[in-house]
């Protein structure tokens, strides 16, 4: 896959163009874009962002638009494992790798974002939006208007965040980011493997990855969540296409955990019933969540 970043300063937009090669899949859209303007974009972070954005479509060979430095080449190749991907444009000469001091939490609209934000203080909340007209960049909030999320490699808590990580990498230098907080709690084995490889890649471009909720037990997770009624605005803002938080499985998950924590059986029954209905209606839960629903809020892993 050959990639190219095209900047349009007049429209304040950035397009990632790509050309699939012999073994690559064709990505689902004509190109990937973000609204906004980047002042600084490090070559290695750009290559890592492209690799993550097109992660599930690359096979055989990856040619990032401006190549990459030797320090990032190994982790980039490893990212694709068990695929064997050749990397072109590797520059052996030493080059600056930017550093940052700020911590961004990636906002995916789930209850885990709330818990992760309470578990780990962050400087910036970073979010991708498919429908926002323009990108909003402020000192505490970055909402990026983009179609990146459509390139998500599949189901799963980490997979859903991969496009956000790619976008955060592109903005990282301008926003002074040095650390990303991922709101992930339970991953399957292949996502855990991916998290390891991903952390290695980001470390090579001076970005640390934290997952403060990963593997935490039910009690810890429950204690990180506030009263559900205080989250209605959060869920309304985070889910642009939903009429009411009552239609969101995440909202009912918080209610389930809250009911369990406060010991109110009626609320527990209601939340369990609603979540079971979500499951029957095709909502996909992680295995831990599914077990929790089936066991009426009892942590099967505890």
């Amino acid at each position: 896959m050959q990639t190219e970043t095209v900047f349009d300063p007049f429209e304040r937009s950035i397009t990632i163009k790509y050309s699939p090669e012999r073994y690559d899949a064709y990505p689902p859209a004509a190109n990937a874009w973000i609204e906004g303007r980047l002042v600084e974009l490090n070559r290695d972070r750009e290559a890592a962002a492209h690799a993550l954005l097109l992660f599930s479509f690359i096979s055989g060979q990856f040619c990032p638009s401006r190549g990459c430095g030797v320090d990032v080449a190994g982790p980039l190749r490893d990212l694709f494992s068990p695929r064997s991907v050749n990397l072109t444009g590797v520059d052996l000469s030493p080059a600056r790798i930017p550093s940052g001091v700020r911590t961004a939490i990636l906002h995916d609209g789930t209850y885990r974002t709330v818990a992760a934000a309470r578990a780990r203080r962050s400087d910036v909340i970073f979010k991708l939006s498919e429908s926002a007209q323009t990108t909003l960049v402020g000192p505490r909030n970055i909402t990026v208007s983009s179609n990146f999320n459509f390139f998500s490699p599949g189901r799963g808590q980490l997979n859903a965040l991969i496009p956000s990580i790619a976008a955060a990498l592109l903005f990282s230098e301008d926003a002074g980011l040095g650390r990303l907080v991922l709101p992930i709690h339970d991953l399957n084995q292949s996502e855990l493997d991916l998290l390891n490889r991903l952390s290695g890649l980001l470390a090579a471009v001076n970005i640390a990855v934290e997952a403060p909720l990963l593997g935490k037990n039910l009690r810890t997770l429950s204690e990180l969540l506030p009263d559900p009624s205080s989250l209605e605005l959060f869920f309304t803002e985070g889910h642009e296409y939903s009429n009411t938080p009552d239609d969101l499985s995440d909202f009912w998950f918080v209610k389930l955990l809250w009911a369990r924590r406060t010991g109110t059986p009626k609320d527990l029954d209601e939340a369990t019933a609603r979540l079971q209905a979500f499951s029957e209606a095709g909502h996909v839960f992680s295995s831990w969540e599914q077990n929790l629903i089936m066991s009426r809020g009892t942590d099967a892993h505890a």
């Binding site: 073994y23 690559d24 899949a25 055989g60």
Partner: protein, 677 residues
């Protein structure tokens, strides 16, 4: 469910090699492998069957005269129970860890085709010498086969198989079908991964080379397969075939219908869906809180593909559609409105038009008035892109067929009471998702007078305005101007008017009327008793199209008459056979609202206005037809009053038209009319 189904297609195959290949699969480290042997017409099928039973395989036999590896594999996969499929040949052996590695890779990369590079065993390593497998020795003696084919195996999910709808069965014998499958997989978003794990190896058992391509006929087949591979960029194939089985069916398409309080229309709609020429679909009906239970009305269809989901309370059409998307299993979603009718080839046309990296297709719609039956064709805009959607040139939403993945990401906005589809299409276009016009009309769109309440209309306008302003606000005024120009340059699709006429035959029966065309052996002269018969038919509300013949035997060559029943048709035939010998009778149906059959095609071409003249004339049809017959090839007559008829003339060249008008002036009873209806 087995973790993997190994599917092997064969015909008149060496049983010794088959036995060795099966032994290698059964020696796999992966327990519970399912092996499906798809025998495509072997003459020694009894012997093949015995071997398959020895190794605990599922045996599928297809009667066939010509070997087709594609068809054999498709028949085998249809019977496979696992969601993971490994297709291979009966002369390939696998190392014990291969299956497990393939399964793990597929779990990590579900959207992929996994290929293990084949190694060829040399002469002396045929089936006879492979009584046991010394893998270390086989590796040493074998040679690697270059990557120009698929190396004798391909592993993928059943979902991918459903998305591509199988190996292309136009490719007969063998050669090219694997490559073609992989290229289509890539276009649909799946990678090709060459497994490089040293524990996963496959070997080709040595045998004397086959004679493929030796004869002229075989050379032609090989060339044909190559041509398909090189020149056909479509994704979904075998559209007239079905790979549906009750126990392991992954639908290619989910037809989703959101409905509320329209049980009778929904029945018609579902019936039209079930009559599709492409049959590998499921139908999901989401009932958005109807007053009356819908299920009993749909139970009569007794079709396992139909799922009815009842929402407890009405939540709006956007919610119902998002709900349906979450429940859908098909790789593509076809949006269908509950009051519309699918034309029989809708899915076939749309799936067949998806090529390259297009995520879906749309088509033209034909609006029909549910009371009068008048038809208005809407061919739709040729291109789907951001400029066009921004300026309102969008596809008819009810004609959309799109990858499920797209609708899982781009949800309908449930906060919009109405017209969320317009907003959705704008966002999809902005997202860079590519859709293609399939080049055909695909639905009959029902128009019911007084359909939308005023409040609905207000909400529609309001949400449209929001969508438009959101789309335009995202770009600079300069770019907006460029987009405006680009949108204006997007033409309407050209679809043959004959499609409208064909499509009209699928209108609800109450909007159709039968026409019978009678050709006379000898042309009738417009005189005497014969005209009385025509008068009588006209008096009984039967509009008539008349064809004239020229030359020495001039007169009425044929008449086409509308009739309401077969009994009436028989009466008309009987009456007319009393006045002349009938040479040929042809019956067909056309929309009741369009009575002049001669003008119908021109009307749907959009050139009808002004092309034909309609005028009211008196009751002297003898004189009228004698005059008209001299200059026109045909005309139309219908009763409009007690002693008045309506005459329709075809498009004529200007001098002829002036002459005819001058000659028939004496028959006119009122001013000339121009429009048909």
């Amino acid at each position: 469910m087995p973790p993997l189904s190994v599917v092997i297609g064969l015909r008149n195959w060496g049983l010794d090699r088959l036995e060795v290949a099966l032994r290698s699969h059964r020696a796999s480290d992966t327990a519970d492998l399912e092996i499906v042997i798809s025998d495509y017409g072997s003459s020694n099928c009894d012997d093949v069957y015995k071997i398959t039973q020895k190794f605990g395989c599922k045996y599928v036999y297809s009667k066939a005269d010509v070997w087709s590896r594609s068809a054999a594999l498709n028949a085998g996969i249809k019977e496979a129970a696992s969601h993971n499929i490994l297709t291979t040949d009966a002369d390939i052996i696998f190392t014990p860890k291969s299956h497990d590695i393939l399964i793990k890779n597929l779990r990590r990369m579900p959207d992929s085709v996994q290929i293990i590079q084949c190694r060829d065993l040399p002469e002396g390593f045929g089936s006879a010498s492979l009584s046991n497998f010394d893998w270390s020795q086989l590796f040493k003696v074998s040679s690697i086969r270059p990557r120009w084919g698929m190396g004798g195996s391909a592993t993928f999910t059943k979902a991918l198989f459903a998305r591509l709808h199988g190996f292309d069965e136009r490719m007969t014998v063998w050669g090219g079908e694997d490559n073609d499958f992989v290229q289509r997989a890539r276009r649909s978003g799946a990678i090709l991964n060459w497994v490089e794990d040293p524990e996963a190896r496959i070997y080709h058992i040595w045998h004397t080379p086959d004679s493929r391509g030796a004869s002229p006929a075989e050379t032609k087949i090989v060339e044909n397969n190559k041509k398909l591979l090189d020149e056909d960029f479509s994704v979904v194939r075998n559209l007239s075939r079905s790979f549906r089985r009750p126990h392991s069916f992954v639908p290619t398409v989910s037809i989703v219908i959101a409905t509320k309080n329209r049980p009778v229309l929904l029945q018609e709609c579902v019936r039209s869906c079930l009559e599709q020429t492409f049959q590998d679909f499921e139908i999901i009906v989401v009932d958005d809180g109807s007053d009356e239970a819908l299920r009993p009305r749909l139970d009569n269809f007794n079709d396992g593909r139909l799922r009815v989901i009842q929402l407890e309370h009405s939540r709006g059409i956007a919610f119902a559609r998002n709900h349906a998307t979450r429940l859908a299993h098909g790789e593509y979603i076809a949006i269908q409105d509950d009051e519309d009718l699918m034309l029989p080839q809708r899915l076939e046309h749309q799936l067949g038009s998806i090529a390259h990296d297009f995520a879906g297709a749309y088509g033209g719609s034909i609006t029909f008035n549910d009371q009068s039956g008048t038809l208005i064709p809407n061919p739709g805009w040729k291109e789907f892109d951001r400029p066009s959607t921004m300026f309102g040139r969008i596809p008819a939403h009810g004609t959309l067929l799109i990858r499920r993945r797209a609708l899982e990401h781009y949800l309908y906005n449930e906060t919009f009471q109405t017209n969320s589809s317009f907003h959705l299409l704008n966002r999809i276009a902005r997202g860079g998702i590519r859709l293609v016009h399939c080049g055909h009309y695909v639905i009959l769109q029902r128009l019911r007078p007084h359909d939308h309440a005023a409040s609905d209309s207000l909400a529609r306008n309001c949400t449209s305005a929001i969508s438009k302003s959101m789309a335009r606000a995202a770009v600079s005024t300069n770019l907006e101007q460029q987009y405006r120009k680009a949108a204006r340059a997007n033409p309407k699709m050209r679809i043959a008017a004959s499609e409208v006429i064909t499509a009209s035959r699928h209108l609800p029966p109450h909007l159709l009327s039968e026409r019978v065309k009678l050709e006379f052996r000898t042309p009738l002269t417009a005189a005497g008793e014969r005209m009385d018969v025509l008068r009588s038919l006209l008096a009984n509300c039967h509009p008539i199209n008349i064809d004239f013949s020229k030359g020495p035997q001039s007169g009425i060559k044929a008449v086409t008459i509308a009739c309401d029943s077969s009994k009436e048709r028989d009466e008309i035939i009987s009456t007319l056979s009393g006045i002349a010998e009938i040479q040929h009778v042809n019956s067909f149906v056309l929309p009741r609202a369009h009575v002049d059959t001669s003008q119908i095609e021109a009307y749907f071409e959009g050139v009808a206005v002004g092309s034909g003249d309609y005028m009211n004339v008196g009751d002297d049809i003898e004189g009228l037809l004698q005059t008209v017959g001299k200059h026109c090839s045909r005309c139309f007559l219908a009763t409009v009053g007690e002693s008045e008829y309506r005459l329709g003339l075809p498009q004529l060249e200007e001098p002829v038209k002036a002459l005819v008008h001058a000659k028939i002036g004496r028959f006119l009873t009122s001013n000339r009319h121009i429009s048909e209806a």
